[in-house]
Subunit: 373 residues, 2 copies
Amino acid sequence: MTSNTPVSFEVLTEGADHARVGVLKTQHGVIPTPAFMPVGTQGTVKGLTPEQLRNTGSAICLGNTYHLYLRPGTDIIDQHGGLHSFMGWPGPILTDSGGFQVFSLSNLRKVDDDGVDFRSHIDGSLHRLTPELSIAIQQSLGSDIAMCFDECPPADASQSDVQKSMKRTTAWADRCIQAHNAKGQALFGIIQGGLFEDLRIQHAKELIEMDFPGYAIGGLSVGESQSDRVRILDVLSDKLPFEKPRYLMGVGRPIDIIEAVERGVDMMDCVLPTRNARMSTAYTGEGRLNIRNSQFRSDLQPLDKNCDGFCCQHFSRAYIAHLIRAKELLAHTILTFHNLRHFQRLMSEIRTAIRDGNLAQLRIREEKLQNKE
Amino acid sequence: MTSNTPVSFEVLTEGADHARVGVLKTQHGVIPTPAFMPVGTQGTVKGLTPEQLRNTGSAICLGNTYHLYLRPGTDIIDQHGGLHSFMGWPGPILTDSGGFQVFSLSNLRKVDDDGVDFRSHIDGSLHRLTPELSIAIQQSLGSDIAMCFDECPPADASQSDVQKSMKRTTAWADRCIQAHNAKGQALFGIIQGGLFEDLRIQHAKELIEMDFPGYAIGGLSVGESQSDRVRILDVLSDKLPFEKPRYLMGVGRPIDIIEAVERGVDMMDCVLPTRNARMSTAYTGEGRLNIRNSQFRSDLQPLDKNCDGFCCQHFSRAYIAHLIRAKELLAHTILTFHNLRHFQRLMSEIRTAIRDGNLAQLRIREEKLQNKE
């Protein structure tokens, strides 16, 4: 990493298949990879203080450009000197481009080659997002890693629609590069191409020619089957530059994470651990448990007897079941902390397993847990 | 404190009027007095982990017998070895007797000399609370300080009604003493007598003869005027044994706390700081601020520039205003922490002011803030 490079990445260990252990360095800290990135949509990982987030073992968190642009607005975050200071999180931050949210959350969107018109899901107000505006917002947020503004077609889009949207995404990526000039921030490209192997290969090639410091795989985790996702990851696993970090967007369940890592993915994000927490579901070594179920009302065990998090050191399932019934906020905090700690313990196990050459065993364990559901 | 005494109390400094700095020692820790005790109604101070509660500077917290008896029930807490273990709070706990809640929260209550029939506010189920059951529950909860089961008449009760209820409270206090045998737990008496000075004096005398290790002043903070409350505290200030701790139940605002301390009160509890937090109100050196107000949306200042709490070190009013609008749980956690830290900083200032002989100045400051509202 030269002093002009906002992020640097190094593969430390190559494991079986394409799995690798690495380290991603940013100006706000170092991220061991493969890394799971909790989602802090509105400038907070729901229910946790920054210190608690750090204590889950999370090295980096996400911020959502779409949400923060609409509320509180870029001006206010800018006045704080950026998102790190606004939310009191001193570690690395990755911001998405707003593209995915515009296509999934907003109303009345109208896409043309220049950008997207949409209505806010909060108050119905009319907005227009372009590659240039997305980059301007992300530069104002001051994230360590910004993402190119892309068009994300639905999982069932036709080949010609995907091709059209891919072409637009390439043109937008070029405009993002032109618009981007924040020194401390890296800009990652996003590879689209849907479930079409030849399109994925073609789009990867187009973006690799643009020489981004990192590549995201977009357009997956949008409703496709597990086998389709794995098929696309297989195709990309030896097409992406070895020396650059690879980020699979929106994935996923523990088994999905391992399958992605086996195909060379270094970074992932997903709302599953935090969203499940708010629905009273805990990830454990026995699989997912819904603590609202009556059997847990008198269960004196911790959520997971092998978990080192403060929740499992101090609280029983019965206590958490009580908090849920009593509608106490602390239930959300405890379960969110626990689930993120569970995911970060899994990532740590994954990194060790790659080094020790037994990632397959970890996959088999998680497959069994998944098949129980 | 002999090894058989569950709590000991020592007055370290006598200040102006009846104010005193002391120390209350329990088997779970030491409490500097005058002390403010946050309310953990359902086995949690709403929105805070035990560690965060500790970091507010709180040395002791309250648990509510009525709520915990109804949900999750004594059996479950018993199986955890008591409330400390159930809620993961290693510090001292005081439990109320359930009396006040039965009279204020439940439906269809019917009082006789033996006890109270009432319906649960949760599910309408029928229950009967007696002095013996209240003590049994509190012993099962394993609090450091238990309270006698008392009858709490409304603020506008007639002298004869108050007298009748006082007589019953004395009889119940006697039954509580008979029923109480937990070695690690102190049982405090509760002085009733409404707003009638002669009744207060008479009831104090009756309870002092029973030789409790501490005395609570009940039946205040139930809607009476500030001057009525001060009048009763004035009457009691030289009637209660100097060497025993005095606990004013349910008080209060910062100004009320100081006025009580000036009349010899050592301990207080109140839901104001935590309840106000959930209504977006922050206590500050400028008075109470409702952070929902639009002026705070772009206010880069901390809640209180003189506060040493982690919230004021890391978060701006604008960030908290954003969290409130975005309906993020963290808003409650931050404001609850902050308000409790504010109250504990006030208690620390009070203890210092008593030692330095300038408590009156502190009172004048808080009177001015109160009069701004």
